[in-house]
Every structure is written in structure tokens, then in C-alpha cells.
């Protein structure tokens, strides 16, 4: 590490570098302070108030958090979000890796090109647009999925109207949309694994499966970790896909934490309470990220 302590920042030979450094980061730093750090502090402050925008804020101490604790809707919504995150992440990352491994084989280049494009394209399109399309596919009585299921003799599934199924539908949409991105990252990670390992394993007579579990997965673990972390944070922030697909319904069956924050803050105008929920969300994300970080220390295999 550099001798930052002993270095004299404003000594003539260092001055221009110091000033340049500070100036170069200034716009980003100011932006950060004004639009990220400031609001972050404000959220903490607001969570201690009752504020409905039309009258000045009223300090109420920890009352919002007490309300949070006893709010049945909140815990249901929290559960939804957690379940969604769990399965969406597993689906995205798991399926992404499987696809990457399959696509990584030697195959005619045009075929690989087309497949890769097909799997990645949904990631690029706006979530709102695809959700509008999927709402038609999922409709219970005139939807397309149920039409084909009907032809196979399966009764109509209430993809969007059955509270037990609705969350599954949202997960399906999320995986469909995001698996391509995970696949790409995994493919890039796979290409970094030297083929020597596989060659040596083949000589020893290893089967495809054992090669996958003993070589691919461990050597891919930094990538896997990256995918898990990014996808988990993203999953906890889920908002648009649910708003368009089910608007949180039926009832609260698919409502997510961010939707609840939006509802409390911008519809019920309980800005203080919304801030308290925001802090809960932040705490969850921090804990999970920290957990993944520490687990990675123990498990990830860096060459």
C-alpha cells in the first residue's frame, strides 16, 4: 500500500496530483452526497417522524418501528419478497449456469450465435413491456398458457388470480427475463477456466457430471458469488414486474417491500412509516450481502 501517512499532499511535487485527484472525483462526490448520502440520512430522520407532506413533520420517536413490528401486512409482504428472492435467484443463477455449460460445448458457430441471442434478448427489453405481454399469457380464462394446458387436459390455472400461484407467475417472468444475463456472465467465467483441468480429468476417466461438480463449479465460484449477490439485491428491490403483472394482488399475495414503501409513502402519505420500512429493506440487503461475502471467504476458490 502507498505511504499515504508519510506523504505530504501539498508539497510542490505532489500538489498537482492531489488537487487533480480531488477535483476529478468532485462531481461524483457531490452527486453522491446530495443524492445518495443526504437522502440516506434523511430516511433515518424521517423514520422517526409522522409526515404527510401537507403539514410539517411531527417527531414521534420509535412509534413507526413499533407499528412495523405489529403490522401483519408488512410481514406477509416481507415473506413474499423473501420467497421471491430465494426462488428467483436460484432460478436465474442455477438455470444460467446450466445454460452456460450447455452452450459452451463445441457446436456450429451460427447455432451458438442464435441460441445466445435468443436467451439474452429478453434481458434487454424493458420490464414493463414484457410484463404487459405476459399478463395476456397468464390470464386465467382467455390466456394463452391455459389454452395450451387445456389442450393437454389440464384445468385452467389461476396464474394471476390464485394467491398461491401468483407468486410463482412473477418468479417465472423474472427468470425468463434475467436468465440470459446470468448465462452470459457464467459463459465468460467458464471461458476463463483452463481446459487443462478438463483434459487431465478426462485422462483419469472422469464422467461429465463429476467434472461439472469437481472442476466447473469450484473454479466458477467467484462468478457464481457475483451472480448470487447481484441477483439477490435485485430480487429484493423487485417492483415493476409485480406492479404490471398483478399490482401486488390478489390481495397482498404478490406485494413486494418496495411496493409497500411506495404505497405508504406516496399514496397513504405516511412518509415517516415508509422511511421506516425502507430502513428495514436496507438492513435486510446489508445482512444478506455481508453473509454472502463471508461465505465467499470460506468457499470461493480463487486461482
Amino acid at each position: 500500500m502507498s505511504d499515504t501517512k508519510a506523504r505530504r499532499w501539498f508539497a510542490p511535487q505532489n500538489r498537482s496530483e492531489t488537487i487533480a485527484g480531488l477535483l476529478f472525483i468532485l462531481p461524483a462526490l457531490v452527486g453522491f452526497l446530495v443524492f445518495v448520502a443526504g437522502p440516506m440520512v434523511a430516511t433515518v430522520v424521517l423514520s422517526l417522524t409522522k409526515y404527510d407532506l401537507l403539514s410539517p413533520p411531527k417527531f414521534i420517536g420509535l412509534a413507526n418501528f413499533q407499528r412495523l413490528w405489529g403490522d401483519q401486512r408488512l410481514w406477509k409482504i416481507f415473506g413474499n419478497t423473501g420467497l421471491f428472492a430465494l426462488f428467483a435467484v436460484l432460478g436465474n443463477v442455477g438455470l444460467g449456469i446450466v445454460l452456460a455449460v450447455l452452450l459452451n460445448r463445441r457446436m456450429p458457430a451460427p447455432l451458438k450465435y442464435v441460441y445466445r441471442a435468443a436467451y439474452f434478448f429478453p434481458s434487454l427489453v424493458g420490464l414493463v413491456f414484457v410484463a404487459v405481454i405476459w399478463q395476456f399469457l397468464f390470464q386465467k380464462d382467455i390466456g394463452i398458457i391455459n389454452f395450451y394446458l387445456g389442450q393437454l387436459g389440464v384445468g385452467p390455472v389461476g396464474w394471476l388470480s390464485n394467491p398461491n400461484v401468483a407468486l410463482v407467475s412473477v418468479i417465472i417472468l423474472d427468470v425468463w427475463k434475467n436468465v440470459g444475463f446470468a448465462m452470459l456472465i457464467a459463459m465468460a467465467g467458464l471461458q476463463n477456466i483452463s481446459s487443462d483441468y478438463y483434459d487431465a480429468a478426462k485422462v483419469d476417466g472422469a464422467s461429465a457430471f463429476s467434472m461439472f461438480w469437481r472442476i466447473t463449479i469450484p473454479l466458477l465460484s467467484p462468478t457464481i458469488l457475483f451472480l448470487l449477490t447481484m441477483n439477490t439485491i435485485g430480487a429484493f428491490k423487485v417492483f415493476e414486474s409485480i406492479v404490471v403483472l398483478t399490482n401486488g394482488g390478489p390481495g397482498d399475495a404478490t406485494r413486494s417491500l418496495v411496493m409497500y414503501i411506495y404505497e405508504q409513502g406516496f399514496k397513504s402519505l405516511n412518509m415517516g412509516y415508509a422511511s421506516a420500512i425502507s430502513l428495514l429493506l436496507l438492513a435486510v440487503i446489508v445482512v444478506i450481502t455481508a453473509l454472502q461475502f463471508f461465505l465467499s471467504r470460506r468457499w470461493a476458490f480463487y486461482e
Binding site: 492531489t18 476529478f24 462531481p27 461524483a28 435468443a118 424493458g126 405481454i133 394463452i144 425502507s278
Partner: protein
């Protein structure tokens, strides 16, 4: 003696022929499965385009059609574009916001990334660590005070509410600002120090060094970042939802959502599908034309991240 060898060789040959056959059929099976999967990925878009070309009265009748038939018509598009729904405005707003945010974001994060990578200044590591931590704070947790801030600045229902944070590299809709800083820093770290030594010896100033030496080398990375930022801003729904009210300020995602509602609106669903098709079309075209480049951008960002 030779018989035994021949027999063994024969058996070995038939075994290996089996193996080759097995491997080939496994390959074809995999291609088939992948192909089916690819079809599933693409099917919703196919349905969307076909439906937008069906006669309005029966656009949604079953059985669904996946390819346009002989009765393909552009009625839905005509109805959509001749009604006074401001599709053009939505498109323009999306374009200006995305372009502005991309420019500002890339500029500020590139120069900041360079500074963190190559310059020495006080508190550098501490600041960087704090920035890194902030990546965990999603926009959604600070949206309430953010709204209050914009209100105080009088920017609610203007494009500035969305572009200002982007311009200063604080965040783009849906993407933390630190992502860009982190990405560019990673890149600049890979440049050999000799380059900068040479520039210093030549007596070039700090900014000059950045502009003439480092920047040109970063073109690919900058392009990659731009693609990502432009895409996420273009697709974003959350920020316009919170900060924009009037219909002629809206971007494509929010604008199209507003078409969907039954009250105070007479757009048939076919028109909404046509609107969605129009919104997806540019992305599709850009993707077909520049697939390589786009995919590489995302990979570059993801792998280096």
C-alpha cells in the same frame, strides 16, 4: 494370437463406435433442448408482433396465432398513431433522458474512476470504501427524501428530477453510480505505469494526461458502460413514475402503462400491444445490428465487476 488381438480390436472399435453414436445423439438432444428453450424465450415476442398485426376485433381470440397470417393488417398501429396518444413524445422524452443521463454518468464516473485508479490524494481509500458500501443502498430506500429534495428544488414533474442524479454520477435509474466508478477504476488499474511516467516526464499536466493518454485507451470500456447505462435508463419505470405527472412528460414505459387503464381511456388493448411492439422494435433492431458489441459490453461489465 493375432486372432485375439483382432477380436479385441474389433470389440474396441464397436465400443468406440457406440460411444461416438452416444455422444452424437447426446449432442443433438442438447441442441434440441436448447432450441426448445430458445423458442420459449422468443415466443412471447412472436405472439406480440403477430397480435399487433391481427384485425382488431379478433386480436385476442383463441387459438392464439404465432405468425402473421394472410389477414395481417396494420389497423392497430393506425389507430394508435392517429389517436392523439403522444407516442412520439414518449419516445422523444425517453431518448433525451437516456442520452443525457448516459453522457453525464459516463463522464463523471470515468474521470472519478481514473482518479481512484491512478492518482494519489488524501482519504482516497476511505472515500472509495464508503462509495462501495453505498452500492448496497438501493434507490428505493431513499426515494422518499429524494422526492422531498426534488420538491424543494422545484423539479418535480420535470426531466431534471431524473437526469440530475444521473448527470452527477450519483446514480442512473436502476444502477448505482458507484458501478461506473468501480468499472472504470478496474480498467484504468490495468494500464501500465510506464505510460503515465512517460507523460509525466514530458511535463504534461494531470488533466492532459487523462485526456490524451488514458481516455483514448478506455474507448471500449466507455462504450460498454454507455450501452448499459443507456439501456437501464431507457427501460426504467420507477423514477418516471415517482417524479413525472403530466402525460406529455412521460417516457415510453410509463406512457404505455397509462394507456392500459380502463377509466378515462378508450385505447383498445390492441393499441397497447401495438405500442409495446413499437417500443420493442428499436431494441430488436439495435440488437440484431450490434449484437456482438452489446453482448460484449455486458460481459465486459459483468466480468470485470
Amino acid at each position: 494370437m493375432s486372432d485375439v488381438v483382432l477380436q479385441a480390436a474389433g470389440r474396441a472399435a464397436s465400443r468406440s463406435r457406440w460411444k461416438i453414436l452416444l455422444r452424437r445423439s447426446a449432442n443433438w438432444l442438447i441442441y434440441g433442448v436448447l432450441g426448445l428453450g430458445a423458442l420459449l424465450m422468443v415466443a412471447p415476442f412472436l405472439w406480440m408482433f403477430t397480435t399487433s398485426l391481427r384485425p382488431m376485433r379478433e386480436a385476442f381470440s383463441l387459438p392464439p396465432r404465432w405468425l402473421p397470417g394472410l389477414d395481417a393488417t396494420v389497423e392497430s398501429y393506425q389507430r394508435l398513431l392517429s389517436s392523439t396518444v403522444p407516442m412520439g413524445k414518449f419516445f422523444l422524452n425517453s431518448l433525451t433522458i437516456s442520452a443525457t443521463v448516459t453522457l453525464g454518468y459516463v463522464a463523471t464516473t470515468t474521470i472519478a474512476g481514473y482518479a481512484f485508479a491512478r492518482l494519489r490524494f488524501p482519504f482516497k481509500n476511505a472515500i472509495f470504501a464508503i462509495l462501495l458500501l453505498s452500492m448496497m443502498v438501493p434507490l428505493q430506500t431513499t426515494v422518499v427524501p429524494l422526492f422531498l429534495l426534488m420538491r424543494w428544488l422545484g423539479l418535480v414533474d420535470t426531466q431534471w428530477a431524473i437526469t440530475l442524479p444521473g448527470l452527477t454520477g450519483a446514480f442512473a435509474p436502476g444502477m448505482s453510480g458507484v458501478f461506473g466508478i468501480f468499472l472504470m477504476r478496474q480498467f484504468f488499474l490495468t494500464l501500465p505505469t510506464d505510460l503515465f511516467e512517460a507523460s509525466r516526464i514530458d511535463g504534461a499536466g494531470q488533466f492532459r494526461t487523462f485526456w490524451s493518454v488514458a481516455l483514448p485507451l478506455a474507448k471500449a470500456q466507455i462504450a460498454a458502460l454507455s450501452v448499459i447505462i443507456f439501456t437501464v435508463t431507457w427501460n426504467d419505470y420507477f423514477m418516471p413514475l415517482i417524479f413525472l405527472n403530466s402525460i406529455d412528460k412521460m417516457t415510453l414505459p410509463v406512457g404505455i402503462m397509462s394507456l392500459r387503464e380502463p377509466v378515462g381511456n378508450s385505447s383498445a388493448m390492441s393499441e397497447v400491444i401495438a405500442a409495446v411492439a413499437l417500443s420493442v422494435l428499436p431494441v430488436l433492431v439495435a440488437f440484431l445490428v450490434a449484437q456482438r458489441w452489446i453482448v460484449d459490453s455486458f460481459i465486459r461489465a459483468g466480468v470485470k465487476g
